[in-house]
């Protein structure tokens, strides 16, 4: 009960923050979509970091560490520490510069102009939105399972079917409603503020959870001694080829539509400097407690010294919620759950704004013309589409659940598979329109076929010849881009002059 009250209080705080930033909202589409490009270094860092840290990083990482051991950190987090900043440097900065110079609000606007093709947007739009849906799903599923884990037994009369826990469908519904409120109040500015606040909350609460759980298990050394030794090593949990191929997955940040939009909010190129340096450290501070909690969970016993903390057959998604629920006090459990919700919502908000922006700018305005709509109508259209996507995602949460980590990896693999497209667009003058079409089609087709072969994410150990599926998607996209570009006519001089300065 206490945990639920604290989470509700936290959600009310967010609604208040949304109201406040809404009062600063200028009411025009530029403010809604890119905060009038006025975000400074600290908010930019918090916003970008908060956006990349979602249920995947907290719920998913703990569950994956529980399932396959501490190598989870090396295969995705430390790789991200290097590669995320590299993506911000090699892709984010040039796109910010091109976006500011040419007034781009979305990735698709950039690709349409760079590849001299209006129709390319109609091919990219469904793919980007289609890949964002599993990402949103990861957030909503993660929120639902954590809340269910910590509130078990709190409402036996209200929710008898879940053992008295708040059911996942209700948590997902409330979380969606709160995020929708504060982004509707102030658009991307509101999302940036909420991200900053929530990033601070989830980092502090993660640390408190970590210290409390370790103390309850007899200290960090005792807790680590309880961990299953087989989960402390890479051998037997992940092959070298899998470990190597995981390195491609963090390239996904180069193609996330919401990160593209976050980058466009920067006031100047100098705003990015803090992000490059602080992002790896912030990743470490967020992931290490979760990885260790997952490792400890493999052998942790209740204070009676006999009963395992994690019941046999528990879902990896539930590990963090169970550890927090059983090994912390109700107040700390509530605060930590609020922190986890913060991590989840700080990604959902940017993703919601990004899909709304893409729909409005790339589909409606592009096909019907801007002059047909007032500023208010544009914002309304964005909100309407966001509601539709949230509804679709919400309906998916009611279907058979998937492992958060596995679903996240599939989503990131799709975006990472498209990385050759953005890299070629920025750095390769010879990249052509036909090459771009071929690259998108190859990535989409290969991703879908592999996702289908994995039982739509049900097989969380799915590989292709021992490597992660991202290798196939990435290679298909890169090969299609190179071969078809070389076989077709180079872009016009006007386009090259616009995108490649001497």
């Amino acid at each position: 009960m206490t945990q639920t009250v604290i989470v509700i209080f936290y959600l009310c705080l967010l609604l208040g923050l949304g109201y406040l930033s809404g009062r600063l909202f200028r009411g025009n589409s530029s403010d809604f979509f890119v905060a009038s490009r006025s975000i400074g270094p600290v908010v930019l860092f918090m916003s970008i970091f908060g956006t990349t840290m979602t249920a995947f990083a907290m719920v998913g990482s703990t569950g994956e560490s529980f399932r396959v051991g501490v190598a989870t950190y090396g295969k995705i987090a430390s790789a991200s520490a290097l590669i995320h900043s590299a993506c911000f440097f090699l892709v984010g900065l040039p796109l910010w510069s091109l976006g500011k110079r040419n007034g781009f609000h979305t990735q698709i606007e950039f690709f349409r102009e760079r590849f001299e093709s209006s129709k390319l947007g109609y091919l990219l739009f469904p793919m980007l939105v289609g890949l964002i849906i599993p990402y949103l799903l990861v957030g909503l599923m993660g929120a639902g399972t954590v809340m269910q884990g910590v509130s078990r037994g709190a409402f036996p009369e209200l929710f008898p079917e879940t053992g008295g826990a708040v059911p996942p469908w209700l948590t997902s519904l409330v979380i969606s409603g709160v995020v929708l409120y504060y982004i509707f109040a102030g658009g991307v500015r509101s999302a940036a503020w909420a991200n900053t606040f929530q990033t601070i909350v989830f980092m502090i609460m993660g640390f408190i959870a970590f210290m409390t759980i370790s103390s309850k298990l007899g200290g960090m050394q005792a807790a680590s001694a309880m961990g299953d030794p087989a989960k402390a090593v890479r051998a037997g949990n992940i092959t070298e080829l899998q470990f190597l191929s995981y390195c491609l997955i963090p390239l996904s940040v180069g193609m996330f539509p919401h990160l593209f939009q976050n980058c466009l909010t920067a006031k100047s190129s100098k705003s990015f400097r803090l992000t490059f340096i602080a992002h790896p450290i912030a990743i470490m501070l967020t992931w290490i407690p979760c990885i260790l909690i997952g490792f400890w969970a493999t052998g942790a016993l209740m204070p009676d010294g006999v009963t395992p903390v994690i019941p046999e057959g528990a879902s990896p998604n539930a590990v963090l919620g169970i550890m927090v629920g059983k090994l912390t006090t109700p107040i700390i459990g509530g605060l930590v759950t609020a922190g986890i919700m913060a991590a989840i919502m700080s990604s959902l908000d940017s993703q919601f704004v990004a899909v709304g922006t893409m729909f409005t700018k790339d589909i409606v305005v592009h096909s019907l013309g801007k002059e047909r709509f007032s500023e208010k109508q544009l914002v309304l259209l964005a909100r309407g589409f966001i509601c539709l996507i949230v509804l679709v995602t919400y309906l998916f949460t009611l279907a058979e659940p998937r492992q958060v980590f596995s679903l996240g990896i599939w989503c990131f693999s799709g975006f990472a598979g498209l990385f050759p497209l953005v890299f070629a667009a920025i750095y390769w003058k010879r990249a052509t329109k036909a090459g771009a079409y071929a690259a998108v089609a190859a990535a989409a087709l290969s991703w879908f076929l592999l996702f289908q072969a994995s039982g739509y994410g049900a097989n969380s150990s799915f590989t292709v010849g021992g490597a992660m599926p991202v290798v196939v998607v990435f290679s298909s996209c890169a090969i299609a881009m190179i071969v078809v570009s070389l076989a077709t006519q180079a872009p016009s001089q006007a386009t090259l002059a616009k995108f490649f300065r001497k």
Binding site: S30, V34, S36, R37, S38, V70, A71, Y73, G74, A77, S78, A79, A81, L82, S85, A86, F89, L93, W96, S97, K100, R101, G103, M220, Q221, S224, A225, G227, P229, A232, V233, R234, A235, E240, F243, L244, C247, K267, S268, S269, K270, R273, F276, I277, A278, P280, I281, I283, M284, I288, I291, L292, F295, R501
Partner: protein, 72 residues
């Protein structure tokens, strides 16, 4: 310094593949499994590498892009 950015990043990428710790299950300070401790150190090295990039290899943008303020 700018010429060193790529070699440093490649070196970091190679260092990331800690296959030599593949079967090492010892706990550093009795808390951190060896591979986890190694990757924590790696993360700090990655952050330091980006400090160097920001300090010595920051790209120059056309002056109009770095003007502060609202878009037109």
């Amino acid at each position: 310094m700018k010429k060193l950015v790529l070699p440093i990043m490649i070196l970091l990428f190679i260092l990331h593949q800690d296959f030599w710790l593949r079967e090492n299950g010892s706990l550093v300070f009795g808390i951190l499994p060896a591979t986890l401790a190694y990757h924590m150190l790696f993360t700090v090295l990655a952050a330091l590498a980006w400090v160097m990039v920001v300090k010595y290899a920051w790209p120059q943008f056309p002056e109009e892009d770095d003007e502060e303020g609202s878009e037109s």
